[in-house]
Symmetry: D2
Subunit: 440 residues, 4 copies
C-alpha cells in the first residue's frame, strides 16, 4: 500500500524504512528478514524438521510433517473491475494479514507465485508493493523454490513422451495433427508460440505443428493447484487429455503411462512455500495458474495448510469479483470443499473515477459525480458477491489525493447495499481489518 | 564399486548395508545421511552461515563466505578407452575419497551434476554406484539444486532476446538464417532437435529454422564451469557469439546487452553444491558440460573451493584419458591455472579383455592372451598421460571373476611403463589409494 | 441438355448419335469434328493465317490478324440459385448457340476453360453435356492450349522473384511475413495449401509461411480475363500488390520489375481459343477465373473478339444470377464497357422443387405446390436482373419427368413478372431461342 | 557456329543474314522459317495428317502415323571436358546436319528441349547459336509445345496422390518421413528446394518435409526419354519408387494406381517435336533430362523416329565424352538397343589452351605449348571413345584467333591416335562433315 504510514509494528523492524513512495525494492531491502525457521516456529508453530529450507529465508512446508491443529477462517480478497488506475488486491491482502497479526490475531496470507516470464518483460514483481510486500522479493521473482521449473519439466516430459510414442510405432494410433498437448516455458518468447517440431528426417521424430505456452498456462499448473495431495495429483495428471487418435477418440496421459514420472518430477513442487511479509508474518506463496485461462488462485494445499496453522487466512483471487472471485468459488471451492468466511472487495477512489469516465490524467482532480457514476461498478460487484452469500467488506485503498466527499460517496453506496466499508490506511494501524474480520 | 567388501568405516554407518550387488538405490537408501551442516562443519570446517541449505541434506556453498585456508592437491581420475564392459571412474573417484578419509587424510571429491534428460531414458543415475555413491541420490538426479534449470532459463532468455530483437526492427541487422544460438531443454526430446519457430504471422516473430539441444550441451554450461566468479561469468556470457548479421559479421550476446540479465538468472547456479558420500565425506557436485561436445569436467569454482577446504581433491574427467583427460588439461587447467598433482587411470580386467577382442558374453572366462592384447590400449593411455608429465597410478577396478594371471599381466604392462598399479578393492580397506597418493 | 431430342442439324453429323442419356464422352466421340480451319472459315470468316493451330481441331485466334467486322449482340446466360439437382447453364449456352445457328443466325458461344485440378477429382468435365458439348472434350480438359500452364508459370515467376529479392539483400525491405503473393498449381493438392518455403539454410532463401492456390484462383487469371490487350495486361500485372514492406507499405510487381517477363510468358495465353460445338459452331473457350473468389467469367478479349465475328454471342456467368450475373455486370462489364443485350435465366422443374423443400430423392414425383414455393427463388432472380435493366427470358431446362402442371406454374410466375419463358427442348428445334432473342 | 561464313545454302534464305558475331536472336529473326508442313513434307516425307501443328512453325509428329521407311545412321556429337571457353556441341550438331543436307544427304538433328527455368536466369537459350540455330527460337525457350508442363503435371499429380493417400487413412502405411518423391516446377526457385507441406491442421494433410526440384530433374523426364511408347511409359511410371512404408519397404506409383492418370497427362508430351534449322532442315527437339543427375540425352522415341525418316541422324550428349557420351552409350543405348555409327568429338583451340593452363583472358594469344599440354585431355577422350569401339572424328570448332601452328598441333595429336580431324568451318561449306560421314 503506497499511501500507508504511521505503521504500528510488532517489532521495530520497519521504523527505519524508506518513506512511502520509495521504490518497492528499496523498501524490501531495508527490512532484514527473520530466519525462516523463526517465522515458522513463532508464527506457525512449525518445528525445524517439518521445514525444508531453501537458503535461510525461504522454505517449503513438509506436508507429511505439518500439524493441522487449527480450523482457520478464510478471507477472500477481490476487487472491482480492474482499471489502469490500479486497485491493490495483493497489497491489501498482505496489509490485512499484517494488521491482524498486529492486533494479536494469528493470521497468514496465501498468494500465487509470480511467473519468471513477464518479470523480465513489462510487469513488475508480484510480491505486493510499498510497505505491504513479501520478502525476499528478488528470490520470489527468480526461480523461487523451483516449482515452475518442476512444472515445466513435468509438462515437457509428457510432450516428449507423446512424440516418442509416435516415433516408436505409435501403438495408440495418435493423430499427430490432433495432439492438443503443447510444451511450456517460463519465458515470454513469442517465437515459440507457433512452432514445428520433429523435423530433420526419420531419426528425429514426426513433423508436427505445435507450440509453447508460458508455464503459468500449463494445465499441470492448474492441476497442482487443485490437487489435495500427491496421490490426487497423480490421478489428475493421468486424466489429462493429450489429443486424439486416428478414430478421433481422446487419449490421456494415463494411456501413455506418463503420470508416475510426472508426479516424481513434482514431488517437491507440491510442498507449499513459506516466506514472510515485511512484518515477519507468514506468507504461503504456492502455485500460479494463469488467471486469463485458468482459475487464477494459489494452491488448495497451501490454503488448507495455512488454515490448519493460523486462525485467519487471507487469500486473493485474480481480476475483478465477477471473474476472479467467481472462479475462486466455482472452481477452487467447489473442488476442494473450502469456503470463504468473509470477503473483502478492494476499490480506490481513483479507479471509481475512471469507471465514471474520467481520463487517466485527470484522476487527481476531485470529482464526486464521477465517483458516484463509477460506483455502479462497485454496486454490481457487491451484488454479485451477495449472490454467493457473502456481503463483502469494501476496502478503500487510500491515496493522498482522495477527497473526503468522494470517500463519503463511496461509503453511502456501500451502506445502501448493507456492506461495511473501511479505509485501507486504518488497517495499517491494525484496526479496521481486524474489526472488519471480527464482525464478519 | 560393486565388488568392494570388508569396508572400514569412519563411523558404523555402512555396517548394515545391503550386500554387494544390491541395486544402487537400495544401498543409497540404507544409509542415513548426516545433516549437511554437519558434513560442512566436520569435514570442511565450513560454518552454518556460509552454507545455503536446500533441504536438510543438500546445500550450496556461499563463495563469498567460504574460507580458502588450504592448498589441496588435485588428483585426476581418468580411464582407458571406454567399453560396454564398464570401467568405473566415478565409483573410483568416490571410493578413493572415502579411502583417503578413512586413513585420516582430509579429502573431497568433485564431480559433475547429472542431466535430468538421460536419467528418464536409458542411463542410470550419475552418482556412482554400489558402495561408492553420493547421496541423496534421488535428489541429485531430479532438479538437484536448480542449476540446470537456471542455465536453461539463461540460455533461453538469450534466445528470446534474439528473436525479440529481430521482431522489433532488427537494429543489428541479424540474418535470421545465420543465428547459431539455439535453445536448450533438460530433456531427451528428439522432436525438438530440429524445429521451426516464429510461425503464425507477423505478431509471432520471424520464421526461423533452429532447434533445442540438451542443457548439458549449452555453451552456458561450459562457460559457467570455466568461470572464476560472477564477474568473469558475466564477461564470458557477453562474449557468446549468437550468429551473424547480413554482412556476415559475428554478433555477440553483449551486442544485445543480454549478459546482465543472464547473470542474474545464474546468481545461485554459480555456487557449488555440497552433498556427501555414503561415508559422509564431502562431495562437491557442480556443473555438467557434455563431454561429447564440451570439456566434460565439473566447475572450476567447485574444484578451487574444494582445494581451499581439503588436503586432497579427487576429480574426474569424462571418457578415456586421450579425450577426457586431454580436455581437462588443455581446457580446464589451461584456462584456470589449475594443475593435477597426480593421475589415476582406471581399468578393469573385463574391459581389457574386450579391448583384446573378446565378445561381451565371454568376459567372465579367464583369457590372459586377450588381456595382454587389450593392454595395448592401457599402454597407450599411460604414454599419453606421460606426455603431460603425469605417470598415472593404474587402478584395477576389481571384479570377482578376475583371474590372478590376468591381474599379473596387467601389472607387468604397467611396471614396464614405470607406472604404479593397485587393485581397487584395496582402496576399500583404506590402503591402496592412500598409499598411492602419499607417493604421488 | 440431356433430354433434348428431335435435333435439326445444320449437317447430318448428329443423326447417328448415341441416344440421350448416354455418357457425355460417348456422345462427344461419336461426332467427327470439322478441321478447325473450316470452322473458322465457314462460321467466323477467319482466314488460315489468322489462326494458330494446336493440332487439327483446336486453335488460337491471332488477335493481331482478326477482323472486327461485326457488332454482335451479347446474351448472358445465368440461373436460379444452384442446387444439387443441377440447372444447366453451360448446356443451355451451347444449345442456344446451336439453335441460333440452326435457324441461320450467326452465333458463337464464349465459355471458361476448365481447371485440370478438379477434373482429376470429383467434378466432371466443363464442356457442357449430352448433345450440348464443346469438342474435343478430352483436350479441353487436359492441358488445352497451355493457357493455365502459362498463367501458372507467370504467377510462380513472380513468387520466385519475390523470394529471390529477399534473398539477395532485400532492397525493397519486404517483410517476409507480409508477402501476400502465394504460388499456384493447376492441381487439387491439399498438402500445398499451407507450406513453409525457403528452408535449408542461407543458400536456400528465407523461411516464410506461404502456400499454393489452384491456378484458377490466381490473380493473374482474373487479370488476364479483364485485360484488353497485351499492353493492358502488362500494366495490370505491374499493379499487383505482392505484400508489404517493413513500414507496412504495399509493394507491387512493378516495384520488382516483374511485369515484363510475366507478360512474355503469357504472350500465347492471351489469344482466345477456338473449338467447336457438336454442331460445328464456334466456341471460344478462354480464361477461367474461379467463381468462388474472382469474377467467374471468360475473358473480355474472347468476348470482344466473338462480338466482332458473329451477330450473336452467348456467354455464361458462374453460380446464380445474384452472384454470377452481378459479378458479370459489375466487374466484367464495368471494366470493359461491354453490356448484355439480353439475359437468359435457366431453371429446372426439379431445382425449383428442391428450392421448395423437396428432398433430393423425391424430385421425380410431381409436386406443384413445391414448385410454386420454390419459384420464390426464381421470382427474386428475375427481379434482381430487372434492377440491372434486363428482364430475362426464363429457360426451363426440360427433363422427361417434368409435369405439365408444374411447367404451367412456372410459366405463370414468369409472366407475372413480365418475363418471357421458354422450354429448353424448343431450342433444340431451333425455334424458341431464336425467337426469344429476336424479341429481346 | 559463331565463326562460320561463306555458307552455301540450299535455298537463298541466309544470304541476307546479319554478319557473324551478331546476337543469336537477330540472326534467328532474320530467317523466315518454312511452314512446318513444308519441312515435314520436303525433308522427312511426312504428310500433313501425321503432323500435329502447334502454330505454323512447330509441330509434333504423330507416332501412330509416321512411316519408318529408312534405317538411318546415328552420329553422336560429344566433346572434350567442358571449360568456360566453350566448345560448341549443339552448334556443331546443327552445323553438321545442315552441311550434310547441303551436299545432298538426308539428315536430321535430335536435341534436348531447354528448361524454362534457367532461361529466365543466367543461361542463354538452348537452340544453338550463330548460324547454327533451331528456330523459332523464342518459342523453343518458352513453353515450347507444352511437354515440360505436362511432365510437371504428371509429376505433381503423383505427389498429390501420395499426400492424399496419407491423408485418407494411409492404407499402404506410408512413412511420411520416408517419402522420396518430391514435387517439381519448371522454374529456378531456390525457396522451393526445401519446404514443409501439409500444414494448417487436420483438414490440410499431414505435415511433411519435402521440396521441389526443377522439372528437368524429374524422374518422369528421364523415364519419358527412355520409353519406347505409351505402353512402355505407363509400365515405367508404375515402377517409380515413391518412398517407404513403416516397415521400411519400398512403395511404388503402381501401389497407388497412379500410372494410368499420369500417362494420360503425358499423351501429347510423348510425341516428338519438329522444328527446323536456319537452313530449314529437320530438328527433332524432344525431352530434356538434366545431365547433372540423369542421362542428359533427347528421347529414344525422337531418335528412333528420326532414324526412320532420314539417312543420317545427328545427336548430342551432354558434358564431355567421359560423362555425357558414356551415359549415352551405357544408358540410352543399352536400354533402347540403339547404337552410334560414328562419333564426333568437338574441341576448340581456346578450350585446349585453357586445359593447358592458360587463363581465360589470355586465350586470344597464340600458345602452341599450351595447346599441346591441353591436348592430353583430347587424347584421353579419344581413347575413352575407342574403348566403346568408336574412333571419333575430331571437329575443331574454328575461331578467327586460331593460329595455324596450334591447329597443326591438334591435328598431330589426333592422327597419333588414328583419329580423323576436320575444322568446323569446312562443314559450313558442306564438305568435311559429309566426307567424314561417308567414311565412317
Amino acid at each position: 500500500m503506497k499511501t500507508q504510514n504511521n505503521v504500528v509494528l510488532a517489532d521495530n523492524t520497519m521504523t527505519a524504512l524508506p518513506p512511502p513512495g520509495s521504490p518497492d525494492i528499496e523498501i524490501a531491502r531495508a527490512v532484514k528478514p527473520w530466519p525462516i525457521f523463526e517465522v515458522a516456529q513463532r508464527k506457525l508453530g512449525v518445528a525445524h524438521h517439518a521445514l525444508i529450507p531453501y537458503g535461510h529465508y525461504k522454505a517449503k512446508l513438509d506436508l507429511a510433517q505439518i500439524p493441522q491443529r487449527k480450523a482457520g477462517k478464510l478471507v477472500l480478497v477481490t476487487a472491482i473491475t480492474p482499471t489502469p488506475a490500479g486497485e491493490g488486491k495483493t497489497t491489501t491482502s498482505i496489509g490485512l494479514t499484517d494488521a491482524l497479526n498486529a492486533i494479536g490475531v494469528s493470521a497468514s496470507v496465501c498468494l500465487r507465485e509470480p511467473s519468471l516470464g513477464p518479470c523480465f518483460g513489462v510487469k513488475g514483481g508480484a510480491a505486493g508493493g510499498g510497505r505491504s510486500q513479501a520478502i525476499p522479493m528478488e528470490d520470489l521473482n527468480l526461480h523461487f523454490n523451483g516449482d515452475f521449473h518442476a512444472i515445466t519439466s513435468a509438462h515437457n516430459l509428457l510432450a516428449a513422451l507423446i512424440d516418442n510414442h509416435i516415433h516408436w510405432g505409435n501403438e495408440l494410433n495418435l493423430d499427430p495433427r490432433r495432439i492438443s498437448w503443447r510444451r511450456v516455458m517460463d519465458m515470454n518468447d513469442r517465437a515459440l508460440r507457433h512452432t514445428l517440431v520433429g523435423l530433420g528426417g526419420p531419426a528425429h521424430g514426426q513433423p508436427r505443428e505445435t507450440g509453447f505456452d508460458i508455464t503459468v498456462a500449463s494445465e499441470i499448473m492448474a492441476i497442482l493447484c487443485l490437487a489435495e495431495d500427491r496421490k490426487d495429483l497423480e490421478r489428475r495428471l493421468g486424466n489429462i487429455i493429450i489429443g486424439r487418435d486416428r478414430d478421433n477418440k481422446t487419449v490421456t496421459a494415463a494411456d501413455l503411462g506418463a503420470q508416475g514420472a510426472m508426479t516424481v518430477l513434482l514431488k517437491d513442487a507440491i510442498q507449499p512455500n513459506l516466506i514472510q511479509t515485511l512484518e515477519h508474518n507468514p506468507a504461503l506463496i504456492h502455485g500460479g495458474p494463469f488467471a486469463n485461462i485458468a482459475h487464477g488462485c494459489n494452491s488448495v494445499m497451501a490454503t488448507r495448510t495455512a488454515l490448519g496453522l493460523t486462525d485467519v487466512v487471507v487469500t486473493e483471487a485474480g481480476f475483478g469479483a465477477d471473474l476472479g472471485a467467481e472462479k475462486f468459488i466455482d472452481i477452487k471451492c467447489r473442488i476442494s470443499g473450502l469456503r470463504p468466511d468473509a470477503a473483502v472487495l478492494v476499490c480506490t477512489v481513483r479507479a471509481l473515477k475512471m469507471q465514471g469516465g474520467v481520463a487517466k490524467d485527470h484522476l487527481d482532480e476531485p470529482n464526486v459525480d464521477a465517483v458516484i457514476r463509477g460506483a455502479a461498478n462497485l454496486s454490481r460487484h457487491i451484488e454479485n458477491m451477495q449472490k454467493f452469500g457473502l456481503t463483502p467488506l469494501v476496502a478503500i485503498n487510500r491515496f493522498p489525493t482522495d477527497d473526503v466527499k468522494e470517500l463519503t460517496a463511496i461509503r453511502e453506496v456501500c451502506l445502501s447495499h448493507g456492506a461495511r466499508v473501511e479505509e485501507a490506511q486504518h488497517w495499517a494501524e491494525g484496526g479496521a481489518g481486524a474489526k472488519a474480520w471480527q464482525k464478519a
